[in-house]
Symmetry: C2
Subunit: 308 residues, 2 copies
DNA sequence: TATCCTTACGGAATTCGTAAGCATG
DNA sequence: CATGCTTACGAATTCCGTAAGGATA
């Protein structure tokens, strides 16, 4: 048994049991991959993969049991490197953050500015992607930290911490009839075509729930991933917008008006997530603490300890 | 990084940083050991060991951090083999139990008889040793299960379960004056020379506590590891004995009388212990459940999951 | 027929053990 | 001067990539 064999097993599962892909992903030859798998199965005395003829189709029962331990071993091997790096160069290294447009554009800039000032030697990579991709990246070990409002809770392999809670708001052109209402209602909003976030983004599910709960059907004429697009179409007069309020800038968005809707939509909690059982470098823990008040950089590592 | 290097690191710590011993323990050459350590340190970019000249003295700070993860990786590698064996031959394998004389002689025979009937293909090795050695064996992965009344609690790397609770009893020659007392007292016992267990064995600490708490000084003329020795010397008239009551057999020990002392000594709880984070084969879980009613063979593995 | 896996084999790289050298108590 | 670690080097083993062959959709 060696690490390469375990890497191949892990990659085989991740790549959907296509050994050619696995070989490419690990920069090695396909026959080598094939042989390594066979050797490992021989050594363990158990078939790990279900085969039909020469094709691999999935994991056998023992394979399913074993894969979890394989993943933990490889994660721990990576942890060894991280711990060593931590001691070798405490304030140097890299940090990969996976997050959504909304966070990257509105919530994180100030934090990242501070972080960069504190840790100028850390190479910070900000991956902008969908909440589901954020989870994928964390699970695959491609990102150290994920920040999003959706999809993060309910993934048992992840530990997450609340960052802040906010409510959707409505944006309309400055002279829009809705600005003259004393207080917004869901009925009043539903009377107009709506521009808002895509499904699975920035609390969109909570918007749908609110209207569904009130028995209102809404006409969503356009959905976008980011508030910049939404604002643009609201200015153009396509409809009214529902966005996260931190995306509104009174100066830059002077053609629009922001109407509070806290009483209409359930609160959204943006969360920071980390894969259980991974070792976070000190600067990564500090970053997490800057993003979420629920993170204590001293005790975080113990919280992560239990590898599920 | 490879498994051999990690094995060498672990063994170096266990063998007190003597690389010659490490090489012998791992059946390899000493220069190879030396090189492997150096290569790993180079790869990680950190010194793992404190050296004076050419001698290794101990772990550096990074070494101390890393060793825990190294141990977990190697434990997980062993777990891979155990899981595979579990599927390859469900009722075949080996089980190593480390326990004390008292358990091996009086508590376990019936359980082991049942276990052997149920799993005739399992090679069962019963290691009789001191409670402290039991802990050592569990920590080193040399035993799967440990059973003892002392030393087990308070070791964070172990999970333990209560098996049964009992109180020490007094044995005396059949016609001894103490047999005519309506109820024993510590004072009455302390008036005679005493034969009982060694320190660190079979609840001896509780005996000392009881006398110390009552302000009684006692004359322990002989201490032994097992009740057979104690009984022999009581029969000879060397003194009165304090033993675990399960060691008394009314038929075989017809020359002796057993006097209850439940009201005098604190209760002892015999416990079963397993190293956290190890995978136990199904038959091992069944064995644990036969020994301790607190063990549920179905959920045991999850209890062990959290590797401290 | 194109994709995908296995077997076979030769070369490269790694690992291992022996021998020799040096430091420490 | 005996114990213990390092360096050096040749042998054995392992690992890897190319080439060829066979199975499946």
């Amino acid at each position: 048994m060696n690490f390469q064999q375990l890497r191949i097993v892990r990659e085989t599962v991740r790549r959907g049991f296509n050994l050619t892909e696995v070989a490419n992903a690990l920069y090695t030859s396909q026959p080598g991959v094939s042989k390594h798998l066979k050797d490992l199965e021989d050594e363990l005395g158990v078939e790990l993969f279900v085969r039909r003829g020469k094709r691999l189709l999935g994991l056998t029962e023992p394979g399913k049991e074993l894969i979890e331990t394989v993943e933990r071993i490889l994660r721990d091997a990576q942890n060894l490197r991280s711990i060593a790096d931590q001691f070798a160069s405490r304030e140097q290294g890299s940090l990969t953050v996976a997050t959504t447009h909304t966070q990257a554009r509105y919530a994180l800039p100030e934090i990242i500015k501070q972080f960069k000032a504190r840790y100028p030697q850390v190479h910070l990579a900000l991956h902008q992607c969908s909440p589901r991709e954020i989870v994928e990246m964390l699970l695959a070990g491609e990102a150290d930290v994920g920040i999003a409002t959706e999809s993060i809770e309910g993934v048992p392999e992840l530990v997450s911490f609340p960052c802040y809670t906010w409510h959707h708001a409505v944006i309309v052109p400055k002279d829009h009839p809705l600005t003259r209402l004393p207080a917004l209602t869901l009925e009043a909003i539903a009377a107009y075509p709506i521009v808002t976030y895509h499904e699975g983004f920035t609390g969109r599910s909570h918007i749908d729930e609110a209207f569904a709960g009130a028995g209102q059907s809404v006409d969503i004429v356009l959905s976008a991933i980011d508030a910049d697009v939404i604002k643009t179409y609201v200015e153009v007069g396509l409809g009214i917008g529902i966005i996260a309020p931190m995306a509104f800038n009174a100066v830059k968005d002077s053609g629009l008006a922001l109407l509070s809707a806290e009483h209409l939509f359930p609160g959204n909690t943006t969360r920071l997530a980390v894969h259980r059982g991974v070792y976070l470098r000190d600067y990564a823990r500090q970053f997490a603490a800057m993003v979420s008040p629920a993170v204590d950089p001293e005790t975080l590592q113990k919280t992560l300890g239990g590898s599920a």
